[in-house]
Symmetry: C2
Subunit: 155 residues, 2 copies
């Protein structure tokens, strides 16, 4: 299939199906919304989600394939200056597929794609409960005291 | 002058000159390199700097104007998905012009431009010695425990 890549020849979903990755941006936004709903994210206007996908440097989708049927089970994207740095956002794995190493596979695939495009500085902002997940993937919190900061209006 | 905007009608440089901001990307890369040299940054390949400027969502330059002569005295840029988030990089003010509130003016101008384009989530990674500078501008470190993380190869 065009635009799809299996990262592993073994089944990773634990359900007898196979898992594939794609960087194709032709994503059904309702299917993506369903995935984000499943992990309890706040809904966002699809018009803005569409624009964010269009202007992200990298968009990775993870699919469970059963015969000719596919199901969206994971997503990540990254903004970038196409030269030095990339920042990964919106990493999600469907709850039914968590705990099988698929989040790790999704991240490793995303990192590999960024590195293949000569991006040396890969960053992200991690919620407290996933800091260790990212640490195990090689991400360091606050390296050399560098702090991630967010601007809050009206403060 | 096209593409220039004075943020303040008073002189800000303390030298009898005036300070202007621009989002024009037609920047002399050698002049930018000179500015970055002045604050002791490691040199970067101009080919990559050019690409980073091209693919940044926002590029802000700060100029000291004396009559028809201009001098590049500050710079910042931001990557973005054009929809939800922007990350500010490479904030620099020439040492001769530090301590006059120009870093604050540069940042406020950058934030204003991002907000005017409907970006709600403005982030950055701050070196330890500038965390308080950004805090005073309304940036929060680690809000709700969110950690800025950097990927290190081979760890």
């Amino acid at each position: 299939m065009d635009g799809y890549e299996s990262v592993d020849t073994t089944s990773r979903s634990g359900t007898g199906a196979r898992v594939y990755f794609s960087t194709d941006r032709d994503i059904d936004l309702y299917e993506l919304e369903e995935l984000c709903d499943a992990v309890g994210w706040s809904r966002r206007p699809l018009r803005k989600v569409k624009k964010a996908i269009q202007y992200s440097f990298l968009v990775v989708t993870m699919w469970e394939m059963r015969g000719k049927k596919r199901r969206l089970i994971g997503f990540s994207r990254a903004t970038s200056d196409h030269a030095f740095n990339a920042t990964i956002w919106d990493v999600v794995v469907h709850p039914d597929f968590q705990g099988k190493g698929l989040g790790k596979a999704l991240m490793n695939y995303s990192i590999k794609r960024l590195r293949s495009q000569d991006i040396s500085n890969i960053t992200l902002f991690a919620d407290p409960h996933v800091v260790n997940f990212y640490r195990n993937l090689g991400f360091m919190p606050d390296p050399e005291g560098i702090k991630g900061m967010f601007w809050y209006p009206n403060r």
